[in-house]
Amino acid sequence: MNLWRRGLLTQNPYYRTPFRIARVPREITRHGTIVRLIGETRKLMNRDPLAHQINGSPVTDAEINAAEPALTDPKRRIIEELLEHAAEELPLGPARKLAKEVAEATAVDPSEKLTVNDLSALQGLAQSLIRQFLEQAQQPSPSFGALELEIVPPFGQGDEV
């Protein structure tokens, strides 16, 4: 059978395909699901004959009656796929997989938490800060003697412990 010569020449066959008429996605292959979806479409049309339209024209009972065997017979259905666009979606699967892998690679193991055992590297910085502090501190008046009787915390606290 010639798919392109089934109807009138004045009717573009790409609009009212069995998939579109029955509202069955091309990706659905299970017979039971196809039958269920066709049933739902029939119900929708029974509730409101204008509810299911294609390109501004309502789908008729005759159309859905013709679409049902075309979709439930695997031989016919697979040929119908030639006239039907396949659904496309963004290919996020590989990106998600990769993101997961990267996350796993960069995750910090709680058992490998960073611990600091040697603070000697900070000694230079500490001395520099002390010097800066002392230089900026208020100078004592020679008439009254030293301003402070003890070192301002935190310096010196360690000595007290």
């Binding site: 573009n12 066959p13 790409y14 294609i54 390109n55 666009h85 590989p94």
Partner: protein, 433 residues
Amino acid sequence: MRRDARELAREARAVVREALARSHAAKGWEALQERDADGNAQGALPYTDAALAEFAAAHKRDPDDINITHHLAIAHHARAWDWELQGDARAAAEWELALGHWRTMVAAGEFWAGLKAKMLVCDPNADTKVLDEARRDLLEHLLELHVAFVRHYCESEAPDRATVHVGIVQRARIPPAVKKRLVEKVFEAMTGSVPDAKAMGDFDPALTVLERFLALFPDYLPALRLYVEVARAWGATLSFQNDWPEIERLAERINPEKDESEDAQDKSPVERLAAHPDLGAESLARSELESLTFELAALGYHRGGSYLAEAQTKGFSVADRDAAMAAFDFALEWGMLGDQFSSTGSQMKELLAAAHQGRGWCKYHEAQEVLQTGYVYQSTLATAARLYHEAIAEMEAAVNLSSGDEHLHEILKQLRDELAILDLRSAGSFFAD
């Protein structure tokens, strides 16, 4: 096992590239969706301009992606169909663009393998032969659509639009056997009305239809045969007495005289049929051609003969003699064309002999007129002698063609005798002068 950062980065690049490429397809799919007033998708339309742009971008990025090609095949074909129905001149190019994508689909084994796999998912016991057949016939089925448009436009008297679709079929890159089948279908589509028109006596439009087809397929033997058949049927309805101008128009139409400016390669349908390499095996076509040429030759002969018959009673005016000569020439032209296909001793040869004889009598009558001028000068006698010679040459040609006609031999002998007397008179006149 964990991969190092460089490997992960490389894969990330590939994933992003793939996502970018496929995102065009996804956007294309989104652009196909027909939506209700609330913006909810209701299903895919076969094409939208936006979707086509996205699919084209995806195809540019990855020309080998057969799924994208399938989107393009559907979308362009659907748009071509709409444009065709709207009378949009862009349809022709769009059809051919779509056919190119469908041709790629036919060649793409992975696409058909995918469909087979899906079919087996639908029914593990399914016979996938149906897909092999669909793949094999796909291009022919698509081109049959153009044959249908040819028929449609021929029936609706839009020959220019039919020609566009014939061109699509002609240019299609398909196996010769498929093209031959399609040309047969185009022939049936374009000339389906001809037998009825012929039966109704509508010969002019019937020939016009065939000429239109032959302009596209000049050497298509069935069309040439039908053309000759219609012309013969037309000729058979015409009378040499009442319809001579129409006979001449018909003859000029089916086998026009060429002037020097015309290309000698540009042959008429009759010439093309006569020179057709397959004519030998086509007895029907050969027979039609012989019948047509005989029909026309006979009309010419009878017209010339009628002038000669009238000359017996009311004399032979110069105009009548010229008309008779033209008619005999007409008979000879068509008779000689048809003689190529006639057997020895056929009616055609007898007709040719009779036409030569007719011309011979015209020359004889002209010679008599010259001699009857009353004043017999040397130059007059020379003119008469020349005409006698021409008449004798025609009669000799008639004798050679006829199957032993004794009467012709007698006429020839009489003419030769008269010429001998004329030569004697001429000699006497010479001495008298």
